[in-house]
């Protein structure tokens, strides 16, 4: 029996074998999901062989390993991507054809693994692809959420959330490893006493036990030479029942306790939900950290008898502060369990851990109330106090008498109740702190944590985010990928800078024609999707203007809507049609508890209904909202974009990666000088982008001097007045007057943190230029090609190599 099929007949045989022996049915009798499972299992066999070979290869040199801790991994579908990376796609297609099945149909039936909210989780997934492709020993650690991010449905323009029980039918990709389960104590109290030698010995008593069962999802690198894994932990109760309660006759209470334990990995928290103070979320974060570190230490101890080499063999990256408890947990393991002196343990901890910051919004920074920590993790709180005591001694020595600075840098915020600042904990416990774009890192150093930057300037560095071209071009846009490969070769698949080779054909009529044909075909597909899902009839020759990302005030979907409505009013009231017919496409989820974001979704829908039903706008403007944005939907939307909306107020977006995905697929960006836009501008040039808006410095100055007065613009400019008044009127809500008054109030408020009206005039102006450029197909296509040609820097391969060289000291094996 061949466990590693590669030929068509071998794959066909493996699929039928899994249908029969893994699923218990003959191939023709399988349901669509079972067909997907049989194919996935056949592919998994190949990956298991390659993973074992990879591990054997690594073991021979005992290389340094990276462990990437992230509360989210936004994986999406895996079948197509795995087949491409393993080079099995065509064989598998043929094998399925012989079985009377269509590979594309089977791929589409795979449920998305939506174990993330957005950029942060998708970045983690892209990094794993790059690490495996580069042959760098790097592994993901996360939580095997039973329910991923909610499914979004739209009802009369309102978002409704439905549970995403993606594991309902179990995932064929996951390999459960109950023999490697980790025990995770929580709750309890500290008993202060002394050990056999009379030395102070705090003991953690009366804890409850969770069990973390690892499930490995295999991650094949491109070419299949290295296969790694993402280790996702499911929480189980320590025993099937708490036997004491069971013995006491309270069966239901025992079952409730079991359910409570398993709740820890039940559901992914939506971002932007107010999660501070949520005990379950804190338990999730600790559960991830405890399981991961237990596993990492266990692996290390297989080959090493002391911890002297721990940091030389182990790098741990904290993806934002959610895994920041790793600082306390690693210290606890080294000091309590391994009996290392505090100073030595601290040196190892700092040398091992590194922290990536992802947000500049002070209100989004994680803090945990001390009473909650004391209740759930009493020993860790003690460790944090001791870290803080020693750290503040250092600060005090460096800045004697600077009480307010010391208060700002303390791990403990003197609020009511007191809280532990997870950013401070992550910075103090790490040897590296990085932002995710040049502008973000600068703001991190100068505005978010300037005291820390002054104290440890050498600790701060930038690692601009990236995306994997295997997923976002090769898989998402195969026609464009083929055109590129036939023109410049396929080296770009593993070295995206090779796209520069397209420069020489950017002005070539033949290449432009083929490029345009592919873009139009992608737009036709999206138009069909828009019709099927929203009954919006989009013209594939119109300018497809796309904003696809989480719905959030700072991402300024409202600014986009302002422009749409301005264009509409100019058409119907002034008789001035836009320079080019447009199809505006929005997609994104709002956090269930985030009222403003949900109001924005309703506004988009009502504006769309008004415009799409107005015969005067029929040939000019269409507005659509695609529900349930997720990785697989992104793969359908992004290749069809002409214009990419990246319009957050400068200084608010850490990086943004949809800009990179869109540019890679031949979209031209309209954007502010924010996040990665700044660096994309450096690469693609101002002649190939539409940049508008005030700079971060200018906006900060306006905020500090309270000199932003949007009402003055409103009074002065009749066009702006008409636009703002349209939201206060019942134009878009005839049956519910006043429904969108909030939008008018928001943009007229001097305290509008997102400066909508400040940037509106230049935004409208740049849109005019974009439309004019679009009308010149040769010019536009050449701009789009140059965006593709110059986006190579934004491969996650480059990002991972930067981390490997400058933070992890990780090598390709």
């Amino acid at each position: 029996m061949n466990a590693a099929p590669t030929s068509v007949s071998e794959i066909q045989e493996a699929i039928c074998r899994h249908a029969k022996y893994s699923l218990g049915k003959a191939w023709p009798d399988l349901s669509p999901h079972e067909r997907f499972a049989a194919v996935a299992l056949a592919v998994r066999d190949r990956m298991v062989d390659a993973m074992l070979a990879t591990e054997e290869r690594y073991r021979q040199t005992d290389p340094k390993r990276l462990h990437y801790l992230s509360i989210e991994f936004l994986i999406g579908q895996s079948l197509g991507n795995n087949l491409r990376n393993l080079g099995l796609r065509e064989s598998c297609r043929e094998a399925l054809a012989r079985l009377g099945a269509d590979l594309g149909e089977i791929e589409r039936s795979e449920p998305d693994a939506a174990l993330g909210n957005g950029g942060l989780g998708r970045l983690a997934a892209c990094f794993l692809d790059s690490l495996a492709t580069l042959g760098m020993p790097g592994y993901g650690y996360g939580i095997n959420y039973e329910y991923g991010l909610f499914k979004q449905e739209i009802d009369d323009g309102y978002q409704r959330e439905k549970p995403d029980n993606w594991l309902a039918q179990s995932s064929p990709w996951e390999i459960a490893r109950p023999d490697e389960a980790c025990l995770v104590p929580v709750y309890g109290r500290i008993e202060h006493g002394v050990d056999r030698h009379g030395v102070y010995n705090p003991m953690w008593m009366d804890w409850k036990l969770l069990v973390g069962v690892p499930h490995d999802m295999l991650v094949p690198g491109y070419g299949g030479r290295a296969v790694h894994f993402l280790r996702l932990y499911s929480a189980r109760s320590s025993r099937d029942f708490d036997m004491q309660i069971f013995n006491d006759g309270d069966y239901f209470k025992a079952v409730e306790q079991k359910i409570a334990s398993e709740n820890v990995s039940k559901v992914l928290y939506p971002s932007d939900a107010v999660i501070g103070g949520h005990e379950l979320r804190l338990l999730q974060e600790y559960f991830l950290v405890a399981c991961a570190l237990r596993d990492i230490v266990r692996q290390y101890e297989r080959n090493h008898s002391s911890f002297r080499e721990f940091s030389a063999k182990t790098a741990i990256q904290l993806n934002d502060t959610h895994p920041a408890l790793a600082v306390a947990e690693l210290m606890r393991i080294l000091v309590d369990e391994k009996e290392l002196p505090w100073a030595e343990a601290w040196e190892i901890t700092q040398a091992t851990l590194a922290y990536t910051n992802h947000t500049l919004a002070p209100e989004a920074l994680e803090k945990w109330p001390i009473p909650l920590l004391e209740y759930t993790l009493p020993r860790h709180l003690e460790v944090i106090y001791e870290i803080n005591r020693r750290f503040l001694q250092q600060v005090n020595a460096a800045f004697p008498g600077e009480t307010s600075r010391i208060n700002r840098m303390s791990l403990v915020e003197e609020s009511l109740p007191k809280q532990v600042r997870m950013v401070n904990l992550a910075i103090v416990g790490s040897h590296s702190v990085n932002g995710v774009s040049v502008i973000h890192t600068g703001l991190l150093e100068t505005t978010l944590v300037p005291d820390f930057h002054q104290f440890w300037p050498e600790r701060f560095n930038n690692k601009t985010n990236g995306i994997t071209q295997r997923r976002w071009l090769l898989e998402a846009n195969p026609a464009l990928a083929d055109l590129i490969s036939s023109t410049i070769g396929d080296a770009w698949i593993t070295d995206l800078e090779h796209l520069r080779g397209l420069e020489r054909v950017a002005g070539d009529a033949g290449f432009q024609s083929e490029f345009h044909t592919i873009k139009r075909a992608n737009k036709e597909k999206l138009a069909a999707l828009l019709w099927d899902s929203s009954r919006v009839k989009a013209d594939p020759d119109s300018l497809f203007d796309i904003q696809a990302k989480r719905i959030h005030a700072y991402k300024r979907q409202l600014l986009n809507v302002l422009h749409v409505v301005d264009e509409y009013l100019a058409l119907v009231e002034d008789g001035k049609p836009p320079s080019a017919p447009r199809t505006y496409v929005f997609a994104g989820k709002a956090a269930p508890g985030y009222r403003r974001a949900k109001q924005i979704i309703k506004l988009i829908h009502n504006v769309a209904r008004a415009i799409n039903s107005d015969p005067r706008a029929r040939d000019w403007i269409k507005v659509a909202f695609l529900a349930d944005y997720r990785v697989s939907l992104a793969e359908a939307i992004l290749p069809a974009a002409d214009l990419s909306e990246q319009i957050s107020a400068a200084g608010t977006e850490a990086s943004g990666t949809s800009s990179m995905k869109l540019a890679l697929n031949g979209a031209v960006t309209i954007g502010t000088l924010d996040g990665a836009n700044v660096e994309i501008l450096d690469q693609v040039g101002p002649e190939n982008m539409f940049i508008f808006g005030l700079t971060a410095d200018k906006l900060r100055a306006m905020r500090e001097t309270e000199s932003y007065h949007p009402r003055e613009l409103y009074e002065r400019d009749a066009r702006v007045r008409r636009l703002v008044d349209a939201f206060a009127s019942k134009r878009f809500c005839p049956d519910e007057p006043g429904l969108f008054t909030w939008a008018s109030q928001t943009v007229l408020d001097s305290d509008d943190p997102h400066f909508h009206l400040a940037d509106l005039p230049t935004y409208i102006e740049e849109h005019g230029k974009a439309a004019a450029a679009f009308n010149d197909r040769v010019q536009w296509t050449s701009m789009a090609i140059r965006n593709v040609a110059r986006i190579g820097r934004f491969s996650s391969d480059r990002t991972v190599k930067d981390y490997a060289r400058e933070i992890w000291d990780l090598k390709s094996i």
Binding site: L183, P185, M203, M205, M243, F246
Partner: protein, 112 residues
């Protein structure tokens, strides 16, 4: 539970007779250890059979140590599986017990 007890000249060896010592049987264990702790001062507790211990089980073992210490005696532990040992380490309890790989070493330690 019936705790098998073996006596040498000066040391009493008590075998934990279960695979799991937890909230369901920790009370019973303490009760059945009481006669041993009352009559002897030098006790070895053999963990060879034990595969799992929770905080209630650890609490029961700790209370045995305290009872013996209160009357000038001592408790030494032996035969722990890797998992049970790591549970002791997890909560720093390995620092207050003398723990030995084998029964013989634990007994010998009393005469050392």
């Amino acid at each position: 539970m019936e705790i098998p007890v073996e006596k040498t000249e000066s040391v009493t060896i008590a075998m934990i007779p279960v695979d799991e010592l937890d909230a369901s049987n920790a009370g019973e264990f303490k009760r059945d250890m009481a006669p041993v702790l009352e009559s002897d001062t030098r006790v070895v507790m053999d963990f060879s059979r034990l595969r799992f211990i929770d905080s209630s089980g650890l609490g029961a073992v700790l209370s045995c140590l305290r009872q013996l210490s209160a009357k000038g005696g001592d408790l030494k532990l032996c035969g722990m599986s890797k998992q049970v040992r790591s549970t002791f380490e997890l909560v720093r309890m390995h620092r207050i017990f003398d723990i030995f790989p084998t029964r013989e070493e634990a007994v010998r330690a009393f005469s050392g």
